[in-house]
């Protein structure tokens, strides 16, 4: 199953591009999260990891949202488009979504500062997860924000002194 990254076919076939077309362009390019629908039964994760492995995809972070009979596997990978195509080609239900990835210094109180800034501006976080990149130095917080609030959320976070990680910055961590 050969995957040619960013071919015209890939752009047309990927739902995220259709959605992005309607979005006001933000400065830079938002980081992408790959979300995959996975049935909750043995062996399903393996079939996904197998396909990612074959396509030499490097996983930076992942989390699973459990919904009982199914779960959503969320991945931050080095080549999101390649990963998307690798899975879509084998019939997986998957989607690329914009996320707000924020670099958060790994010290007590910083996450609180981030959460407060969002709260004060009435930004609702749909879903979030975080990981420590370098202990006591750098952490990353990935957030799904309602589309209409995304641009405002980015401004709020920056105004609070945090760095927003754009796509390549996040994947290259």
């Amino acid at each position: 199953m050969g995957v040619s990254p960013m071919s015209s076919r890939s752009r047309a076939g990927c739902p995220c591009y259709r959605i992005m077309g309607k979005m006001p362009m933000l400065r830079g390019v938002m980081a992408k999260q790959l979300t995959i629908f996975v049935e909750n039964r043995p062996g399903r994760l393996k079939s996904i990891s197998e396909n990612l492995c074959k396509s030499h995809i490097d996983i930076r972070a992942f989390t699973i949202q459990d919904r009982g009979d199914y779960g959503l596997l969320r991945l931050i990978v080095d080549k999101p488009n390649d990963a998307y195509l690798a899975l879509a080609d084998v019939g997986c239900a998957c989607a690329l979504k914009d996320i707000l990835a924020v670099s958060v210094p790994d010290q007590p109180g910083n996450f609180h500062r981030l959460a407060s800034a969002l709260a004060e501006n009435s930004i609702n976080v749909l879903d979030a997860y975080g990981f420590v990149l370098q202990p006591h130095k750098t952490g990353v917080c990935c957030m799904e924000i309602d589309r209409p609030q995304m641009a405002k959320a980015e401004e709020v976070v920056k105004a609070a002194g945090f760095t927003v990680l754009e796509d390549e910055e996040l994947y290259g961590l």
Binding site: P15, I19, Q33, T35, I36, F37, V38, E39, R44, Q65, R67, D69, Y70, L72, A88, G91, C92, A93, C94, A95, L96, K97, L126, D127
Partner: protein, 437 residues
């Protein structure tokens, strides 16, 4: 046998020849009513019947073409209505095989006749004045609830029109009013038994004597289990809304299969493939003609139920032949907690939802004593957005759409694309894991 109760001894024990005379007379009458409908006028004239006098013997009924559920659907809503709507006092309805339901009309006289058949059925079991009757079947468009309700009132029982569901309240009500007779599906009755004792109400606190069990096929073993566990007499009941509802056939005190009320119905058993009428004792598809409903005559209706008629008489002295338990179906209809469900109804709804792929599976099993329906659908990858809220809204939409159509809210499972067995004919689409006892 002594102590056999009758509602109408003369009719119930009439000589066969007298009964057949009555059938012929009523058949001519109902053919007259049928000829008033566009549907039967066409059908009957093709069979050379243009007036009631063209039917000279009961044998002539075999010239009449069968009526099917599909005929009812195609002639929805009024193609089989034989009277002016001003004479119709009640409408009942049941699920069709697709979105179009089956509708049944009753005049005041039709309701009266139907009620009398139920009064006869109830009396035949030994229930009557002094009994407290808890009607645990659903009321509403479904005929099971209202049919027995009217019959029970006519007999003079104290009727509690509680309807289905809410097991705690059902048990409390049984205790509060010292209910003696239940009308209920066998699976729900077993479920009720499993819940006895939860609120400190045990069998000894109840006055139950009998249960009329119907709306779903069950085995003799299930009846025995009900009778042993609950220490009651359980009476099997048969009916379908196209032929009024309950009261087509009912067990008498002998509890050895159900007397078909042959002054009101002509029962035939046919070979479902050839349509040939079979002899008594041979198993085939039950075909029924309604002799006493003017608003909507029903001639040779194919019930799709497999059964046989007992050739020999009954110890109770009734001359009306007995119908066996329902042994199966000639179509793929599922009966889930007493509700008739066609897989095509489910398919129709699922196919209208773009976010799911075309592959689906219907799964039925038991949870405790009750049936459980699970509908499994595959996510359609091109419309997957990666949002839980969207997926859960989809799950709810499927459940609500199906509930609106089949009246049962199924469990809806979302599956990965390509994970359900590919349909190779209908067989794999429906998996029924309920134990066959």
């Amino acid at each position: 046998m002594t102590d056999v109760p009758f509602w109408n001894r003369e009719v119930e024990t009439a000589e066969r020849s007298r009964l057949q005379q009555l059938q012929l007379q009523r058949l001519k009458g109902i053919i007259g009513w049928a000829l008033r409908t566009p549907f039967y006028k066409r059908r009957l004239s093709q069979a050379g019947i243009n007036s009631p006098d063209d039917v000279r013997s009961l044998q002539d009924l075999q010239r009449v073409p069968f009526t099917t559920k599909d005929d009812l659907r195609q002639n929805f809503p009024k193609g089989l209505l034989a009277v002016d709507m001003r004479e119709v006092v009640r409408i009942h309805s049941s699920s069709g095989t697709t979105g179009i339901p089956t509708v049944i009309y009753f005049t005041r006289d039709d309701i009266d006749n139907w009620t009398d058949l139920l009064a006869r059925s109830i009396t035949g079991t030994g229930a009557g004045v002094g009994d407290v009757f808890q009607n645990m079947m659903s009321y509403g468009l479904f005929t099971g609830g209202l049919g027995l309700h009217y019959g029970a009132e006519r007999v003079g029982m104290t009727v509690i029109p509680i309807g289905g569901g809410n097991t705690k309240r059902q048990i409390q009500t049984m205790k509060d009013f010292q209910t003696t007779i239940l009308h209920i599906t066998p699976s729900y009755l077993l479920h009720v038994h499993s819940r006895l004792g939860e609120d400190g109400i045990f069998r000894k606190d109840l006055a139950l004597r009998k249960a009329f069990i119907g709306a779903e096929p069950h085995s003799e073993n299930t009846r025995r289990k009900i009778q042993d566990l609950l220490q009651i007499e359980a009476y099997n009941s048969y009916g379908l809304s196209e032929l009024n509802g309950p009261g087509v056939a009912f067990e008498c005190v002998c509890r050895k299969d159900m007397h078909v009320w042959e002054d009101a119905y002509i029962a035939e058993v046919i070979d479902p493939k050839t349509g040939e009428v079979l002899k008594d004792g041979q198993e085939g598809e039950l075909v029924l003609t309604n002799l006493v409903r003017c608003a909507m005559p029903m001639l040779r209706y194919r019930t799709r139920d497999l059964a046989f008629l007992h050739p020999e008489g009954c110890d109770c002295g009734r001359t009306h032949r007995r119908l066996s338990r329902i042994l199966g179906r000639t179509d793929d209809m599922l009966i889930i907690n007493g509700v008739n469900v066609f897989p095509s109804q489910i398919e129709e709804k699922i196919m209208k939802i773009p976010e799911v792929a075309t592959n689906y599976q219907i799964h039925v099993d038991k949870k405790g004593a009750l049936d459980r329906l699970t509908v499994k659908v595959e996510i359609y990858p091109k419309l997957f957005l990666g949002e839980v809220a969207v997926l859960e809204a989809l799950r709810n939409k499927i459940r609500e759409d199906l509930q609106a159509s089949i009246t049962i809210a199924p469990i809806v499972e979302l599956h990965e694309p390509g994970s359900l067995p590919v349909s190779e004919g209908k067989a794999k689409r429906v998996v029924d894991d309920r134990p066959k006892d």
